[in-house]
Point group: C2
Chain length 331, copies 2
């Protein structure tokens, strides 16, 4: 398969933040050049940049840009960025770190802290891939949802980095991931660039294929891991966990420890973002239903720890996933 | 809410079959006028008419049209219609009945048999609705998938007829039902005509909402019920059954006994139609992914009998659902 050229998802030159606009992929590769916190917050809200780790990195740079331009804007920009999206904990953690750095050392320290967060996420990806590939070495037919590659997380990503590192992979099944189709638009784009054989399925079809024995393991990312090991991830993840458990195949969550929030006791305490109705009423711009149809549109769901075979992080693997094994990762 | 006017899904005047073209709903209400088996088979294949019972009714009229025009075409038209779609057993059963009638009594008998099948499905709907509403009288917040109203089955339909008959319904949650969006296009259209409060969700979101306690019961139709009670239904049904079982809420299948196939021992023996890749690559005409992306597109999945709380038919309710209770319905 052809390797498609692409700009990096996040690029920083010390003065400007460049984000590959993921809302336009795979049809167009356009780069947003951002110089202030408002622009970064808007890019996060409308998913031009997405994936819990990359949201954190982008927000960190956004706050660094703000304090470089005007040190007085620290608190207001911090608050603006912190509330751009509610579910991923990486965002709050990243802007908190940059604010602390700015308070201690000014704009230069804020920029250095944002760069450190970026470098940490890049390094985490390689370690996650190595741990995950070791755990799942025999897996030939993995299934995933949403996008967890370089577009979502540092380096080569989280769950998709694990899949790309599997030694015997034959075919990756990618869920399209309604409503915003991160699977159809982004994961397929990255799988093609990686040269990995793949097929796309609608989200509702994946559990039936798992039941029919066509999948060896489900590998997904995470937007927030609670202290007890419950995981909030892209809506549609929980049914994959139910189906994997029923079929007796591994359900593995991969992500950096920056997505673990020890202050959130369990999944019920994770705020679930409810997004705009138009996302459900439309796909690819086309109206799919009557124009004013009422909609429920939670962007995430919660998978209870008991359904998760293993949590793969850059610091190692929690298995089984419970309060004790998650706490061990953070020690 | 406004009651939208609409032509009936299936109308027969003894010489022509009129089908409301469901591929164009809800944007346009156009009626196909069909006079031969080839036209009916094509309408079935491309889902202009759909829903297991209505596929059977349309195919029955298609064969009646064929033998009226040319008695010699009985066998070839029977074979053409019988293979138009593989999963719903109603189609095979209906054309077998019309063929038997034609062999015994010629074209007039074939037409009468098709009319009898149509009348039976209309009568079944009322009985299904009554049995289901009695079983689920306390349900305020049902969830359904695909379309199971008058567009899919006789009378007011199967699962949607049950939902419309619930005495205390507050809100119906409708899964959009990718890839062909029968929920967004057809169920929303029918719920509005029925004046029932409703909201649309993407298929992947429904299990998470069930887990959060927002749903009282899942009510779905069936394309084929095997002798042991396993049910093939629209792809995306099985994850709803898993989530209902995990949450301890009823998962109820509603359909006429014409959808039960005693000759199919279990779900593994039900042929699952795999449809065109373009259905997954597109929605509402819009391309959602890279143009030549490989696709898996099973149109149905199988829910094992053990996950089904009750099977509601015009002859009564099987509960629990197993080989014995299903056989009892057919006695």
């Amino acid at each position: 398969m052809p390797q498609l050229a692409a700009p990096p998802p996040i690029a920083w030159d010390g003065r400007e933040l460049r984000l590959l606009d993921q809302t336009l992929l795979p049809a167009r590769e356009e780069v947003l050049v951002l110089r202030d916190a408002a622009g970064v917050a808007d890019a996060i809200r409308r998913l031009a940049v997405r994936g819990a780790p990359n949201i954190g990195v982008a927000a960190a740079y956004g706050l660094a840009l703000a304090v470089t331009d005007d040190p007085e804007s620290l608190e207001s920009s911090w608050a603006l960025l912190r509330r751009a999206r509610p579910t991923a904990v990486n965002l709050a953690r990243a802007v908190d770190r940059v604010r602390d750095a700015a308070l201690a050392g000014g704009a230069a320290a804020a920029r250095a802290e944002a760069e450190a967060i970026h470098a940490e996420e890049d390094a985490a990806s390689d370690a996650i891939a190595a741990h995950g590939a070791s755990l799942l070495a025999a897996v030939r037919r993995p299934l995933t949802i949403c996008n967890t590659g370089a577009l979502a997380a540092g380096g080569r990503g989280s769950a998709l980095a694990v899949i790309a590192a599997l030694p015997a992979v034959e075919q990756v099944l990618a869920c399209e991931t309604r409503p915003l189709l991160q699977g159809s638009r982004l994961t397929v784009y990255e799988l093609r660039r990686l040269g990995l054989p793949h097929a796309l399925v609608v989200d509702g079809a994946a559990p039936g294929l798992i039941r029919r024995g066509e999948i060896d393991a489900v590998v997904v990312g995470c937007d927030r891991v609670a202290a007890n090991g419950d995981v909030a991830n892209k809506v549609g993840t929980y049914p994959l966990a139910l189906a994997a458990a029923a079929a007796g195949i591994p359900f593995v969550v991969a992500g950096p420890t920056s997505s673990i929030d020890a202050a959130t006791p369990d999944g019920a305490a994770i705020p679930i973002e409810e997004r705009d109705a138009e996302e459900v009423r439309r796909a690819g711009g086309a109206l799919l239903t009557l124009p004013d149809t009422p909609v429920r549109n939670p962007a995430f769901d919660v998978t209870p720890a008991a359904l998760i075979t293993a949590l793969v992080t850059e610091r190692g693997v929690a298995r089984p996933v419970d309060g004790e094994s998650v706490a061990e990762l953070l020690r």
